[in-house]
Structure formats: C-alpha cells, structure tokens
C-alpha cells in the first residue's frame, strides 16, 4: 500500500490539524496538565471470494479482489488523544487500509479539537464522524464488532460520508434510562476515488447533520439525518459530457440534456435518514438499522435498505447471523431508453444507444441492488485478541452488482448473480 502525500487538495485543514495533534502528542507530553495517549487497533483478515465476473470489496473506496486476499478487510488504525486541560482536548486518527485512491487525506478519519463548554454542551472543529449510522464512528475497529465487517449493504457506501470537515455542537442530557445526546454539525466532505483512467472527485458542500442518540447501559438507539448539496464533480471525460449537447445532431439534443443532467450532479441535493438500535439482554445481542437515501444523481442513486443481526454469547464464543438488503430506487440507465425508443425512429434510437453506451455502463457499474445472509462466530481467545470466521452469501439483481468490482475487461453483468465470501480475521486493540 502506497500513500500519496503530495496531493492534499481541499483536505489541507484536517491534514494540518492531524499533523498538529500527532506532533503535539510527541512534543508536549511532558507539559504539566497536558495528557497525551496513543492507541490503536488492527484487523488482520484473510478473505476468499472466487467468482468469474465479480471481484469482492468491502467498501466502495477499495479495490475489487478475487481469490485469497488480505486486502479487503485488513486495517491498522493509529490514534492520538491529547487533553490540554479540563476544557480542551484533541483527537487524531489515521486508518491504513486498502484504498483505490491513495491520497493521504483519504486515510484521515478523525482530526478535531473539542471544547467542553459546560456540563451539557460541547463543540468540535476539524474532521469528525458524521455518525451517519449506528457504527459509523467505529466501523473500522473490528475488535469492537461481532462481525468481520459491518454489513456491506449498509456500510459499503458509508465511507463516502463517514467523516466530515466542519463544526459540531452537541448537547447531552441525563434521563431515567441513561442519557440523550443531540448533535448538530455543519461543514463539507470531499470524496476522492479512482476510476478507470483517472480520479473521480465530488464535494458534499453545505453538509448538515443531525444526530440523536439514546443511551442506556444495555441498549442504544440512534437516528441521523444528513443533507448536502453536491458540487464540483470532476472525472475522466466530464468535459466531453458537459459539451455533449453541442456535439450531437439536433434530434438528440433533448436526450443529451437529459444525460448531462443525470451525470453532472452539481447543485443537486441529497439526503440520508437512518434509524438503528442495539439491544443487549443477558447473552443475547440484537442489532438492526434502516436507511433511506434520497438522490436523483444516477451515479449514486437513491436507495433504501438495512439489516438485522442477532448474536448469542456462549462463554468466550459468540455465534451470529445477519440478514441485509440494499434496494435501489433509480433504474440503472443514464437516460430513459423506453421513452427515447417511443420518440425516435428505430435507426436513430440505435444510434442513441451507441452514443450513450459508455456513460450508461458507468451508471450500471454504480448501481447497487442486492441482499445477503451472513453467519459467523467470534471467539475471544485472549483478553485483548479475538478470532472470527464468517461466511457471506450475496445475491445481486440485474445490473445491481455495483457494491462489488467487476473482473478486468468485463462489463457490468446483466444477470442476477451470487457471490460467496469466506473470511478469517484476528482483531486486537492496543
């Protein structure tokens, strides 16, 4: 894994903040009243996924892999906490893992400064978790999860908006059952990924997040709402797409406009809503989450999904079972071909299909529609170590395999497919 330090782009602020937190941790550790700690976690995971068309990946920002591989689910996380005094503290966290795009900013998960205003209120500035889902803020810490990884139907896309750069105000109030915490955040997030032939970047600007969490010692309920405006979309060939209307015969102009409007998302508003809960009673643990993502950008179209999972503690062993689903809302096509066919002469329609084939393939490759069943066992064989074995059976719909990669040289498969993944994982924290 090679990390590119030369192109921090718009993530300069969290990068500098992270550097300050880690170097501060090394240089001021003897200063009176300032307490510094370093910690970390690792997941050493071996996965086996054999398929003639699909390549397994656990996150959209990772490379698809086939056969035996340590890459999809192995992670090393390093963290520094600094408590300057009773009011101020800072946290920096970098996560080294497989990434399509190796810019250093892609590895920074946390880099924030926090001020404790009073008993109830606190504020953060920097890069922090959006807490979009129940486990977003520690989804990478395998040792704290029953699973080898959180359900991909819910969490594969979480990395795109897993953390954000901005400001957060949070309020906590004690309650009979425990506590209620409400947080409101505002800022932005810059998504960078690699695509064939170059990079894909997009800004989630005017990013506003509302989190509500009810905490007890035995259960946790979480709800989140995210709203953002998409901006500055850039990728290979985007200028050709933007200029398409002027380069096609007048007959195709309405369809060119439709294609450009669907591919170029600048100015479009997206929203996420999610609810989830974790419930422990004696040896039984239940987890369930639902999300509703509203977007009419065809390269990241609206969807709805979730999962339910049950685990049972038997001494140091915990078997678990999970059912998950991710259902798209938009058709996996760059323009409405049914409507186009009804409006155009057959020859012209065929020409339109050919002209739009490349962008249509991009849309198909970014369409997710699948469900899965996963079964596994976690064994806490040591105070600080656990071992997990997990089997996943995924089923994708027609042109719905976008959560996974496609084998080199192949187009997005049209047919419904199934993919089996076997994972062995050692996890620890330190």
């Amino acid at each position: 894994m090679f990390i590119d330090l030369n192109k921090p782009k718009s993530s300069t602020v969290p990068l500098l903040l992270l550097a300050s937190i880690f170097t501060c941790g090394l240089t001021v550790s003897n200063a009176k009243a300032t307490e510094v700690s370093f910690s970390g976690f690792t997941n050493l995971s071996l996965t086996y996924a054999e398929h003639d068309k699909l390549a397994y990946r656990s996150s959209l920002q990772k490379n698809g892999r086939e056969g035996l591989s340590f890459a999809p689910d192995s992670i090393l996380g390093l963290q520094s906490n600094i408590e300057f005094n009773d009011k101020f503290d800072a946290v920096g966290q970098i996560i080294l893992q497989d990434r399509d795009n190796t810019q250093f900013a892609n590895y920074i998960e946390l880099a924030f400064l926090r001020y404790q205003i009073d008993r109830h209120w606190s504020a953060k500035i920097g890069r922090f978790s959006t807490n979009s889902y129940l486990y977003t803020d520690y989804r990478n810490v395998g040792h704290l999860l029953n699973w080898v990884r959180p359900p991909v139907e819910m969490y594969s896309t979480a990395g795109a908006l897993g953390s954000m750069d901005g400001l957060q105000a949070s309020y906590i109030q004690d309650a009979d059952f425990g506590a209620v915490k409400v947080a409101l955040s505002y800022g932005q997030s810059n998504f960078i990924d690699d695509v064939e032939g170059g990079e894909l970047t997009i800004d989630y600007s005017e990013l506003a997040v509302l989190n509500i969490e009810l905490q007890s010692t035995d259960w946790r309920f979480h709800a989140a709402f995210i709203r953002s405006t998409l901006d500055n979309f850039d990728t290979v060939g985007i200028d050709d797409v933007k200029n398409l209307e002027g380069n096609v015969p007048p007959l195709f102009s309405p369809f060119a406009r439709e294609l450009v409007g669907n591919i170029v998302p600048d100015g479009k508003v997206i929203t996420y809503a999610s609810v989830g809960g974790q419930y422990n009673v004696d040896s039984l643990e239940l987890n369930a989450e639902l999300f509703d993502y509203d977007s009419d950008w065809v390269l990241a179209g609206g969807s709805v999904g979730g999962y339910i999972s049950a685990a049972y503690q038997l001494g140091n062993v915990k078997p678990y079972l999970t059912l998950a689903t991710h259902n798209r809302r938009l058709a996996p096509e760059v323009i409405d071909y049914e409507r186009a066919e009804s409006l155009l002469p057959p020859v012209a329609f065929q020409q339109l299909v050919i002209l739009s084939a490349e962008s249509n393939e991009a849309v198909r490759g970014a369409s997710y529609d699948q469900k899965s069943i996963s079964a596994g066992v976690r064994w806490d064989f040591h105070e600080a170590w656990s071992f997990k074995v997990q089997f996943d059976h995924f089923r994708t719909s027609e042109f719905g395999s976008g959560l996974f990669g496609v084998q080199a040289g192949l187009l997005t498969p049209k047919e419904e497919l199934s993919l089996n993944v076997l994972s062995l994982s050692f996890t620890t924290i330190f």
Partner: protein, 165 residues
C-alpha cells in the same frame, strides 16, 4: 428519468426488515423498564465505597450520577465542577466488583465499552490507579478526583459520597 423499479423479492425483504426493526424498537421500550428494576436490586454491602476529597464540594452522589460519570457520559459533577474519575488497573478485584455493582457488566464488557468511546473519539477512559496510596496521592493533587475503594481503606482526607448497599 426518475423511474421507480420494483423487485418483488427486494421489496419483501425490506418489509421484513421494517417489521423486525419495529419489533426491535418495541423490545427497547420494554428493556427500559427491566433496567430500572435491575438497578434497584440490593447488592453486596460493605465492600466498595465511592469517595472524594474532603475539600470537594460534593457530599453525596446517587447511583445514576455515578454511572453517568464512570461510563463517560458526563465530564463533570452534577454541580458543574470538572470530575476526574479514577479506575483501578485492569484485572484488579476492585475494578471487577465495582462495575458488576454499578452496571452489572463484566470487566471485558466494560473494556469494550470504553474502547468504543475511545476509538469513536467520544471520550478517553478514566485514569488508572494501582493502589490506595496512588488514589490518596491523586486526591491530594486534584480535588476533583472521584474514586472507589474498599470501605476499610477510607482515610481522613476522604469523604464517602456513595456506598453500595
């Protein structure tokens, strides 16, 4: 352009998920009642007490307030003064007993809980003490220290703010 797609299987599985989540939320309401019941159960008397410095303004705390502090929800006493909770080192009999009495959780679960708070950036675990003299020293240096010790170890510099009974 925005065309709805309906997949019978996907829709069915989603409805099933919604149903299961609904059942789950109903279960959450039920567990709130059971947690209350557990907290009022009498436990082992005369073992551990929770203490502060005699210079601290706090005279008493209830169990809920202790949970709020030792489980990382609040960084201050109910009166707003900053609090420095002190834990015993991992594996010590006092630590195991304290968390069993406080929240009915094993030390492994407490460690996992604090790791979640740590790696999500929410809070850092309490400082650790290895002995009563350690705690006494910390209390001399910081009037905001809140610690648990065996009742027989309480000194004149400490006042008991909570007793497990």
């Amino acid at each position: 352009m925005e065309k709805q797609i309906t997949f019978i299987n996907s829709s069915t599985s989603l409805n099933l998920l919604r149903l299961l989540l609904g059942m789950f939320l109903i279960a959450l309401v039920g567990v709130g009642v059971s947690v209350q019941a557990q907290e009022s159960t009498p436990s082992n008397p005369d073992s551990l007490v929770v203490v502060v410095s005699t210079k601290n303004a706090i005279d008493t705390l209830d169990k809920k307030q202790l949970i709020d502090i030792f489980m990382g929800r609040f960084k201050s006493f109910p009166n707003g003064d900053f609090v420095t909770p002190i834990d015993y080192f991992a594996g010590s009999p006092q630590r195991k007993e304290f968390y069993e009495l406080l929240v009915g959780k094993s030390e492994r679960k407490i460690n996992a809980y604090w790791s979640r708070l740590l790696f999500s950036g929410r809070a850092t675990p309490p400082e650790k003490a290895s002995s009563v003299p350690d705690i006494i020293q910390m209390m001399r240096e910081d009037v905001n220290v809140l610690a648990y010790i065996n009742a027989s170890k309480v000194t004149k510099e400490m006042k008991i703010v909570y007793r497990f009974e």
